[in-house]
């Protein structure tokens, strides 16, 4: 008898170091499920960033490369150019991608690098303990924005909508934003990831899936409360859905 639903092969059956209620766990699982469905476990490489998901290499059961903070897209570029027939996943958080690595992601996207970026947006720095991120919402509290993010008087800038910014670039082919706040959105997120991975394997160009993800620990909330906060505050600002889809498939 065939097992219809079980633990994905591409994910090791071990407990993670992630906090209770953290979105990374669900995102890892969804990625692993897609890789299993595509039969790519033995030909996948993940570049895991500096941030909480630096631990991704402990959990994914395939090759990994751990680059310097923010340089993840540059390293993924090097890997994918050398191994064009592999599935290369550039896994990044909001600090890694939208602050220290802004130049790297913009130019990798613009070159149309044929890897897929998974951008986990939890609007905060996780590993270092709750500092303001480029995607922190206006008024949201952080250890380095103790009175809330104040774009005007304190000059803290505005939250960056990365996908909308990258959508203007010729090299980007597929940009979608999902969320792991409920089962329906997790299923949609999985579809986005699958589309992106399939497009990558067809060699179409730069693909990226941003995923809104709760960080109860650094938001100082319970797991349930953090999901409500995400729905009430993040989704209205970071609209879900396909921001850009110029894949060949879509053109048909």
């Amino acid at each position: 008898m065939e097992l219809a639903y079980g633990h994905p092969k591409s994910l090791k059956p071990i407990q993670t170091k992630y906090c209770p209620g953290c979105g990374h766990v669900v995102i890892h699982r969804v990625i692993a499920e897609v890789i299993d469905e595509l039969g790519l476990q033995g030909a996948s490489i993940i570049t895991n960033p500096v941030g909480c998901s630096i631990w991704a290499d402990l959990y994914f059961d395939f090759d990994s490369v751990q680059p310097a903070h923010g340089r993840t897209p540059a390293a993924a570029t090097g890997i994918k150019r050398v191994l064009p027939d592999h599935l290369v996943i550039c896994y990044q958080g909001d600090g890694d991608l939208a602050a220290i690595g802004t130049a790297e992601i913009i130019h990798a996207a613009n070159r149309g690098e044929k890897f897929t970026t998974i951008f986990v947006n939890n609007a905060i720095y996780g590993m270092t303990g709750g500092q303001m991120a480029p995607t922190t919402l206006v008024g949201q509290h952080a250890t380095t924005a103790p009175y809330g993010r104040d774009p005007v008087e304190a000059g803290m800038g505005y939250p960056i909508r990365v996908l909308e910014m990258l959508a203007t670039l010729g090299g980007t082919k597929y940009l979608a934003r999902g969320s792991v706040n409920n089962a329906a959105n997790i299923r949609k997120t999985k579809q986005y990831i699958k589309k992106a991975f399939e497009a990558q394997m067809r060699g179409e160009g730069f693909t990226m899936v941003e995923i809104l993800s709760p960080c109860p620990t650094n938001w100082s909330m319970g797991a349930g409360e953090s999901v409500e906060w995400l729905e009430k505050n993040m989704i209205p600002f970071y609209a879900l859905g396909e921001v850009k889809n110029t894949l060949e498939e879509a053109a048909k």
Binding site: Q41, G42, A43, I45, T47, I54, D57, D61, F62, D63, S64, V65, Q66, P67, A68, R71, A74, A75, A76, T77, G78, I79, K80, R81, V82, L83, H86, A103, E104, I106, H107, R111
Partner: protein
Amino acid sequence: MAEDIRLMKGNEAIAEAAIRAGCRAYFGYPITPQNELTAYMARHMLDRKRTFIQAESEVSAINMVYGAAAAGARSMTSSSSPGVSLKQEGISYICGADLPAVIVNVARSGPGLGGISPGQADYFQSTRGGGHGDYYHFVLAPKSVQEAADLTYEAFDLSDEWRIPAMILADGLIGQMMEGVVLPAERDLSKLPKRSWAVGNQAKQGRPINHVSSINLVPLELEASVRARFERYAKIKETLVRFEETQVEDADLVIVAYGTSARVSLGALQEARKAGLKVGLFRPITLWPFPEKRLAELAGKGKRFLAVEMSMGQMVEDVRLAVNGKAPVDFYGRCGGVIPTEDEVLAAARKILGK
């Protein structure tokens, strides 16, 4: 077969040698005085369907090298002093992850933006690791276009064998100068050490999964891996030190100089000998590992030393460490992109010898 000899700029000879050494991926960013190198790579790597990327910064370029090297390709980047400063973070990660890579520094004068004329003031940065953490890497210093090509070709092999990056520390003069160069044959890549540590083709190879990383949060484990690396360094220091000596045996004064300043010093030596002064030249070719043992031997034979550099005195510190108080060590240097003349070096030698 006739020798493959060409008249080339140093920058182009380095590029061609890298291609012949089997460089599969090159990543660069424009900076003077090494631009011919990147332009040559653009033309000839793309010609051969190999990877060439003009990166958005030196930071990105070195991290592309990190990725390409992790994926098992012979990889290289080149730059000049301020750009090499930007690469230091990446070089530290490459060393921490035990990846092979070749980095070329066609050095100019600093600090800061400094000037675009040749300099040797990156000696400290090159030979002391340069980035954060406990590490070293090969540093090879060519004195001519020929040697720039030869050392670049060899740098790939050294780096592969030891899983330590190799830096070519040239300067703007070596990069810009044209000389005849005999080019090496295409490297047979089937005979390279196996890259069982690289990522990719895991299923095809049927091996356990690989992680390329420099992180380890367990202090005792990290200490063990740093110590293992230092054991490799010790072996390298035993076996791979390289230098060239000219009329050192009977010399009263040994000039110690590398790269361009060694060329100038050779001219000064020839003038000194004509005048009956017993001057010799000791030219380190590997700046790391530094030829400290041989210098200590020479100090034991009663020689005294004059370090000549295009800096305010950096390598001279290694000469003093090697000599360890057994012999006087003097210094003559020019900086800011000024190249010392033979007459200046000869005058410095005469002053020391009192003749």
